[in-house]
């Protein structure tokens, strides 16, 4: 479904990774490990389509991303470093506009059930500004049990989440994979009970020749 062909990324003259080729099939979870600053977030932003500044190709359902952009958008859920949650709005209002943006309509009842699953039962009407950082992230993560996106791209979802939250999140990931979903995740956490279909890659192993700060001479005609 999602195939990367010799993907390479360079930011501010620093080669983050190069010729990263991998194929993610339905029912698989790809865990990307790497030290801070090794380009994990950049890779996820490239996969999500937020950044088009990369070498190589990304194929979705066999075709190049640029050809199937709309379909790719419809079937992708992206969770970034900062949870896209408005402080002045309540969790319910936040989930409404986020679902609307993803072209999904959710009934009040579905939203309340999702919030309940992330332990935000009593907090539905509290403006998110008054919630803790962990709770705010859980409001964003509550979307996971609501969205129909096939491909989940999650950037460090386990940070600032308590033990109970971690268990819930792992169960959601497991359920998503079992019904042929796909997950790309960056996390330092060892995913215990879904080790069956987990594929791990370390970003440092794709960093290209060490100390290669000399670029090919006649290359570089393009931005």
């Amino acid at each position: 479904m999602l195939k990367l062909v010799k993907l390479g990324c360079e930011r501010d003259n620093r080669l983050l990774f190069t010729d990263l080729s991998i194929e993610l099939l339905p029912g698989q979870l790809l865990q990307i490990e790497g030290a801070n600053g090794s380009g994990k977030t950049t890779l996820l932003r490239v996969l999500a389509g937020l950044s088009s500044d990369y070498l190589g190709d990304i194929c979705w359902r066999g075709e190049k991303l640029s050809g199937v952009y709309a379909d790719f958008r419809l079937s992708t859920f992206y969770f970034g470093h900062k949870p896209a949650v408005k402080h002045e709005l309540t969790p319910i209002e936040n989930m409404h506009w986020r679902a609307g943006l993803r072209n999904e309509v959710r009934s009040e009842q579905q939203i309340r059930k999702a919030l309940d699953q992330v332990d935000l039962a009593g907090f539905e009407e509290v403006p998110c500004g008054h919630l803790s950082a962990g709770q705010q992230r859980r409001v964003a993560l509550a979307d996971l049990s609501v969205t129909e996106a096939r491909l989940w791209i999650l950037d460090e979802p386990f940070t600032a989440i308590d033990v109970h939250g971690v268990a819930w999140l792992e169960s959601v990931l497991l359920r998503h994979i079992n019904d042929d979903g796909m997950v790309v995740i960056t996390s330092h956490q060892r995913l215990r009970d879904i080790s069956g279909q987990v594929r791990k890659i370390r970003l440092e192993s794709f960093s290209g020749p060490v100390g290669s700060d000399h670029f090919a001479d006649d290359e570089g005609a393009f931005l």
């Binding site: 999500a48 389509g49 937020l50 950044s51 088009s52 500044d53 709309a70 958008r73 419809l74 992708t76 992206y78 970034g80 470093h81 900062k82 949870p83 896209a84 949650v85 408005k86 402080h87 002045e88 709005l89 209002e93 409404h96 506009w97 986020r98 609307g100 943006l101 993803r102 072209n103 999904e104 309509v105 959710r106 403006p127 129909e148």
Partner: protein, 230 residues
């Protein structure tokens, strides 16, 4: 996909509803530009002269320039608040066309600030002794002008969304583009003051507004894609 399918129109209004909720939950977002507008306009009589004859000549220009600066002041937070809490990424990742969402953001900004300025404009015009026969011209020209300011300023806001202290840069980028709006707007008020026909000015302002409605969202979407890409 499930039956819960949204057409563009519904997303457009849901973004506007969200932004208006945000605006009214943080009253500062609506009140500050209006307060700024009142203050700027009352500086002129202090700075120049309080006498009626002079002020009535300058009133149209002062009211318009004040509105222009107030809109610019409030535009800085148009995309910045979304950028800071990560919702700008969600906006870009939506399957709905980005120009449509950009237009929704600008429309929400206009409803929150532009309308408030239009409602306070008569008060200022009174304070500045604007001849009464020019009031309709002032209101109509502001009604056409303020959305145009939000549209054009939106481009600058999108370009400077990730620039620290980008407020001044936003003004620098947007002011040259405001010149035609200002010229036709104040022109309408001035010819109304002189008792002449002013519909020509308003027609030009309307034409500029239509162009802005078509082109500005595209430019805002392009700018957002470029700036967030970095």
């Amino acid at each position: 996909m499930s039956e819960g399918h949204l057409r563009g129109r519904q997303v457009f209004f849901s973004i506007i509803k969200r932004d208006l909720m945000l605006a009214f939950r943080t009253p500062g977002q609506v009140v500050n530009p209006v307060a700024f507008y009142l203050m700027v306009a009352s500086l002129f009589p202090l700075g120049i002269a309080p006498d009626k004859a002079l002020l009535s000549q300058l009133a149209g220009g002062i009211v318009w320039i004040g509105a222009l600066l107030a809109v610019l002041l409030s535009l800085d937070s148009l995309f910045r608040s979304d950028q800071e809490d990560g919702s700008l990424d969600q906006l870009l990742l939506s399957p709905h066309p980005l120009p449509l969402l950009a237009l929704a953001k600008v429309a929400a900004h206009w409803l929150a600030t532009g309308l408030a300025l239009i409602l306070t404009a008569p008060l200022l015009a009174l304070m500045l002794h604007l001849p009464t026969q020019a009031f309709p011209a002032l209101m109509l020209s502001l009604l056409l002008g303020t959305p145009l300011m939000s549209l054009v300023g939106g481009i600058g806001a999108a370009l400077t969304v990730r620039v620290q202290r980008g407020g001044v840069l936003l003004t620098l980028l947007s002011l040259p583009l405001y010149v035609p709006v200002l010229i036709f707007g104040t022109g309408a008020v001035q010819s109304a003051v002189d008792g002449m026909e002013y519909t020509g000015h308003l027609l030009w302002l309307g034409a500029l507004l239509m162009t802005g409605l078509c082109l500005a969202p595209l430019a805002i979407a392009a700018s957002l894609r470029v700036v967030v890409d970095g």
